[in-house]
């Protein structure tokens, strides 16, 4: 057993996993507010990346200005989605909201394809591709940066959810009717959650766009993101972070063992197994809330 190699696999797996978390945090924010996994989170992430590129390449802004500006625009888009679409679904079955997010995803993919075409564009963040060496262990710099962003966002949301606004958001996540009864603007809270998730989508779009290029494939991040969110418990940000690390490590280390045996493709099998086993064995995931049985 090559321990150095195994450690390297585990560390890089954990870093990649945190990039899944970066994506999954957006899913969790919307799940808390709207009780559905947002099937358009992949589309939003892709749009986030395209908007950054549009501002940087087409408008000519430097990246340090383009990224925050894109975040502001996407924040507005998130609010707009609530205002234009979600508000009309008040009182309807939750599955309708789920279908709405699916429609939104298709719409976002179609729109980006129409505007920017199908060829992949590069983000060019300027992060060096020289690997970083930790002793004998080889680490990718962009993954390290992305993991830092994920942890930064995690800390930021922990603080937000302790603030008065954040407590109101958690109240909305608990009970719409009770929230209205004490004057909380549920609509505004849901809009804010979508807005924040759209900002997260910009962060994920920039990092993943740097790693795999900006094209339609970015929207497919949804699948791994969903697996991570479900394992974490869907409504827990901490869950999304821990689950991302777990999935990343299991996937990276597991694939190294399994790939020679099954001849490739074992990454997908591992992700599928994690998702299915979670739903079967622990439907509330690692940290998810469940309805408290009252006496």
């Amino acid at each position: 057993m090559d321990w150095v190699f195994l450690t390297e696999l585990a560390i890089n797996g954990a870093l990649t996993g945190l990039l899944y978390s970066l994506f999954a945090i957006g899913l969790v924010l919307i799940y808390k507010a709207s009780s559905v996994p947002n099937l358009a989170q992949g589309g939003l992430t892709m749009v986030g990346a395209y908007v950054v590129l549009a501002l940087a390449r087409d408008v000519g802004l430097p990246l340090w200005a383009a990224i925050p500006l894109a975040a502001v625009l996407m924040f507005g888009l998130g609010f707009g989605i609530e205002r234009v679409a979600l508000r009309r679904l008040a009182g309807r079955p939750v599955v309708m909201i789920l279908m709405l997010t699916l429609g939104l995803d298709i719409f976002l993919r179609g729109t980006t394809l129409a505007i920017w075409g199908g060829t992949s564009r590069s983000m060019e963040l300027g992060v060096s591709y020289e690997p970083l060496f930790l002793g004998d262990i080889f680490i990718s710099r962009i993954h390290l940066v992305g993991a830092g962003v994920a942890i930064g966002l995690f800390v930021a949301f922990m603080l937000i959810f302790r603030s008065r606004t954040g407590i109101k958001l958690r109240a909305i996540a608990d009970d719409y009717m009770a929230s209205w009864s004490v004057g909380i603007s549920v609509e505004r809270g849901v809009g804010l959650s979508w807005a924040l998730a759209s900002v997260v989508a910009v962060a994920a779009g920039v990092i993943w766009g740097e790693i795999q290029g900006v094209d339609q494939a970015l929207s497919l991040l949804l699948l791994k993101g969903l697996a991570v969110a479900v394992l974490g418990g869907l409504d827990s940000i901490l869950g999304a972070v821990v689950a991302g690390i777990i999935l990343g490590v299991v996937e990276n280390v597991g694939a190294d063992f399994l790939d020679p045996l099954v001849g490739g493709g074992s990454r997908e099998l591992i992700v599928a197994a994690v998702l299915i086993l979670t739903v079967m064995i622990r439907p509330h995931g690692l940290f998810g809330h469940h309805d408290i049985e009252r006496v």
């Binding site: 709207s34 009780s35 008040a90 009182g91 939750v94 909201i97 008065r164 407590i167 109101k168 958690r170 109240a171 996540a173 608990d174 009970d175 719409y176 009717m177 009770a178 929230s179 209205w180 009864s181 004490v182 004057g183 909380i184 603007s185 809330h289 309805d291 408290i292 009252r294 006496v295």
Partner: protein
Amino acid sequence: MQQKVEIQPILSMNSVEVLYDNVMLAIKGVSIQVPKGKMIALLGSNGAGKSTTLKAISGLLKAERGRVSRGEIKFEDTDITEMLAQKRVEMGICHVIEGRRVFEHLTPDENLTAAAPAGMSRSDLNGEKEKIYNYFPRLAERRNSLSGYLSGGEQQMLAIGRALVTQPSLLMLDEPSLGLAPFLVAEIFGILQKINQEQGMSVLLVEQNALAALEIVSEGYLIENGRVVMNASAEALKSNSDIQEFYLGGGEGTNFHNVKHYSRRKRWLS
């Protein structure tokens, strides 16, 4: 009710009809007045239309696809019939909905914070919380545990405390005694009376437990099949033979829970 003392009503509801889903007529011309600073009871059996009446006043009907199809509701001389629920809370109407719907995954302290009005400063909020913990010392002890694990009585106290944070001048409670032991009902009703006396807050109390309610209110309305069928002082209601037979009979405080309880526990959008 001969000796009707003319106090300016804080709330007056005139011939209000409510439709759910545009077809189901739940209340049929209900008129109710709550005089300023008084405690009024709204009594009636299951399905009579008590909760619907409160939702019409608080604006929570909309969330259940109901609407006021006739009549008007005035609060402090303002027509609020079509006003947003949030606006009504800002004006001073707060509705403690049935079933003690506390925010289960928040602590009692956070439940109180969640209800803070937009402009309330941190120190005002803390002062408000202390006042509430003084009224409900049991809550103070458990202020940092998860609300979902509180006992039924504690959750009801929290639901009331959470409503108080909004600084209501009219507090409406929907069956706060449901499922609680008589000593807890007495404790909670005692506190309501105390708050009413100390702060002059008007109270509209919906109850099936007529015996307990008539002990603390000055006047009551009896509603049946979506219509007000009786309105009299608490004394008169207590001695009325129909009321005694149907609502106070059996000697125990709680009545007619034998009818299947219409449960609106379906959590909206969840």
